[in-house]
């Protein structure tokens, strides 16, 4: 219970179309991540699924039923917001129980549901506090708890980790992944952070300018991108794009991931412009006359001096070929 289908969904604000015909299938129990640069329409799409924005045309279907004209509360969804959006005047317990209370659930059942959710999220000792008395991480856990209590068909997350600091972000990310395993619920998750997308998703939807660029499992997107946008967006540091003509190849551009460029070859040469040592890996930035700025990712600690000239090579079957419009040539 909890399959989502979008069929030719569009959204216009006045005369500007921000979602330009999106088709998507999310299976029951799947963790689906919408990812893309800011302004790509991923949050708008999520809010359309939630019912917070009207759908201009097309169908939104949850479990086979068209929900375009249903109010958000009747779509059996729950949403977790970036700014937590807890009710400031209610205790943690009442925050989590409000939706059930509105739906007319018996008090004993609400109590049981909130206790259970609080236990899952280690919030039991905070139940009588108000949101103002909680830390950022605790507030986000309450917001997630509020979503769990409703037992929704769909969980919607709108950049839930963006307001947390780095350590807490990793911790909460793991927690969300654990919840997904335990609840087996369908989750739609919006983020601009491709690391979150890669680590959480069963299925990633890459959006740009209101259009779906590619849908697929994280490793499929990583190893088999459809175009330069997806290739450049997924993976960090970004993929290098080389001028294929200068290498005597027939395609327009050649994409090579930083870890697949190896020093010592003779095909490309560049001058080291900057070195970042991260302990476990070393990132070497080179400027090449033919190809612009290139990034090389090397394992472990490596010593390179700025202005040193380095020759680079790559395995041809690790490289992706793209045409002039950025489409992948296979």
């Amino acid at each position: 219970m909890g399959a989502l289908t979008l069929n030719q969904v569009t959204k216009s604000f006045g005369t500007t179309q921000v979602i330009k015909g999106v088709d998507l299938n999310v299976e029951d129990g799947e963790f689906c991540v919408f990812v893309g640069p800011s302004g790509c329409g991923k949050s708008t799409l999520l809010r359309m699924i939630a019912g917070l924005e009207d759908v201009t045309s097309g169908d939104v279907t949850i479990d086979g039923a068209r929900v375009n004209d249903l109010a958000p509360a009747r779509r059996e969804i729950a949403m977790v917001f970036q700014s937590y959006a807890l009710y400031p005047h209610l205790t943690v317990r009442d925050n989590m129980g409000l939706a059930l209370k509105q739906a007319g659930t018996p008090r004993a059942q609400i109590l049981q549901a909130t206790e259970k959710a609080a236990e899952m999220l280690a919030l039991a000792h905070l139940l009588e506090r108000r949101p103002a008395e909680l830390s950022g991480g605790q507030r986000q856990r309450v917001a997630i708890g509020r979503a769990i209590v409703r037992r929704p068909k769909l969980f919607l997350f709108d950049e839930p980790l963006s307001n947390l600091d780095a350590a807490l972000r990793v911790q909460t990310r793991i927690e969300i992944a654990r919840l997904h395993r335990e609840l087996g619920a369908t989750m739609i998750y919006v983020t601009h952070d491709q690391v979150e997308a890669m680590t959480l998703a069963d299925k990633i939807v890459v959006l740009r300018g209101g259009v779906v660029e590619q849908v697929g499992r994280p490793m499929d997107l990583y190893n088999d991108p459809d175009n330069t946008f997806v290739a450049g967006f997924i993976g960090s540091p970004q993929m290098n794009f080389l001028d294929a003509g200068k290498l005597g190849l027939r395609s327009d551009r050649l994409g090579i991931r930083p870890e697949h460029l190896v020093p010592g070859g003779g095909q490309i040469s560049g001058r080291v412009s900057h070195v970042e040592k991260l302990g476990g890996e070393t990132l070497v930035y080179l400027s090449s006359d033919d190809h612009g700025l290139l990034t090389v990712r090397l394992f472990g600690e490596q010593d390179y001096a700025v202005d040193e000239v380095v020759g680079l090579g790559f395995e041809p079957n690790r490289a992706f070929h793209f045409d002039a419009e950025g489409r992948r040539l296979r």
Binding site: G51, P72, A73, F81, S83, A85, Y87, P88, H89, Q102
Partner: protein, 279 residues
């Protein structure tokens, strides 16, 4: 060290200016109050003297209370002020919520139209208002005053509150919608508590002109049963003889209720005024 001395000097100077202003502002009130406790001769002999054992006289208060209807005048003023305040805050907040929350055609124009009243004094329309009140049979009723004052207070209320409501997190309202709260519940339970400081600010700025107004009570509701306190005090001011004791006593009494209302709102008010300035 010099930094610290410098800031002491600065805060002394700031306080001196503030104290000076307070003295200037409170001086008329002070003169009214002390003279209301003096006999007529003492008021004219030395208006600035505080009441002494021989000049102390409650004749003003006795006259005011003996006039009998003053309790009624007070009651009228309170009813008109509180009712108008209630409607201004309720309708102003609702209009502000709609303007800040919903996207609809003509939203901007509607906002401008509602704020226009700030620049156009309602008294320009007095004749038309009077004709309207006569036609609807509302002359000499408190309803007439409440209606006029509600109209008078709304533009500023809508203007200030819609600015504040734009600042209330969208996520919070959306969370309420997903949890099944009605738009009214979202408005009353989530949004209103968050704009409470702004509401207090609007309340004070709306309340004081209404309480002090002489114009509309004189024109729309001058009957004995509907006189407000400011109008009622006028009976002591004659063309040839003015009963200063009674006027001063009535004015002193008239300060009290509005002072109480102000004290109720003031804590919120200070937060409202500083909300934009201090992060």
């Amino acid at each position: 060290m010099s930094q610290a001395r410098h800031s002491t000097a600065r805060s002394l100077a700031a306080h001196a200016v503030l104290i000076l202003y307070t003295v200037i502002a409170l001086f008329p009130v002070f003169v009214v109050v002390i003279n209301s406790f003096k006999n007529r001769r003492a008021i004219f002999a030395d208006p600035l003297a505080v009441p002494t054992a021989e000049s102390f006289d409650l004749v003003g208060y006795r006259t005011v209370l003996a006039q009998g209807d003053f309790v009624l005048y007070f009651q009228n003023s309170l009813i008109v002020t509180v009712a108008s305040l209630f409607f201004v805050l309720l309708f102003g907040a609702m209009a502000a919520f709609a303007l800040s929350e919903y996207r609809f055609r003509g939203n901007m124009l509607m906002g401008l139209y509602l704020a226009l009243g700030i620049m156009i004094p309602i008294r320009l329309g007095t004749v038309a208002i009077l004709q309207m009140m006569v036609a609807s049979g509302l002359v000499n009723t408190l309803t007439a005053l409440v209606l006029v004052y509600t109209a008078q207070g709304l533009p500023l209320a809508v203007f200030i509150l819609s600015e504040f409501m734009r600042g209330v997190s969208d996520d919070l309202k959306n969370a309420g919608r997903i949890d099944g709260l009605s738009e009214y519940t979202i408005f009353f339970r989530l949004v209103l508590p968050l704009v409470r400081p702004a509401m207090a600010t609007v309340a004070v700025f709306t309340m004081i002109p209404i309480w002090n107004d002489l114009w509309f009570p004189l024109i729309l509701a001058p009957s004995e049963a509907t006189k407000t306190i400011t109008l009622g005090s006028q009976v002591f001011i004659g063309q040839f003889v003015t009963n200063w004791n009674a006027v001063l006593a009535a004015l002193s009494l008239a300060i009290l209720p509005v002072l109480v209302l102000y004290l109720i709102f003031s804590r919120q008010l200070i937060r409202g005024i500083t909300a934009g300035a201090v992060k």
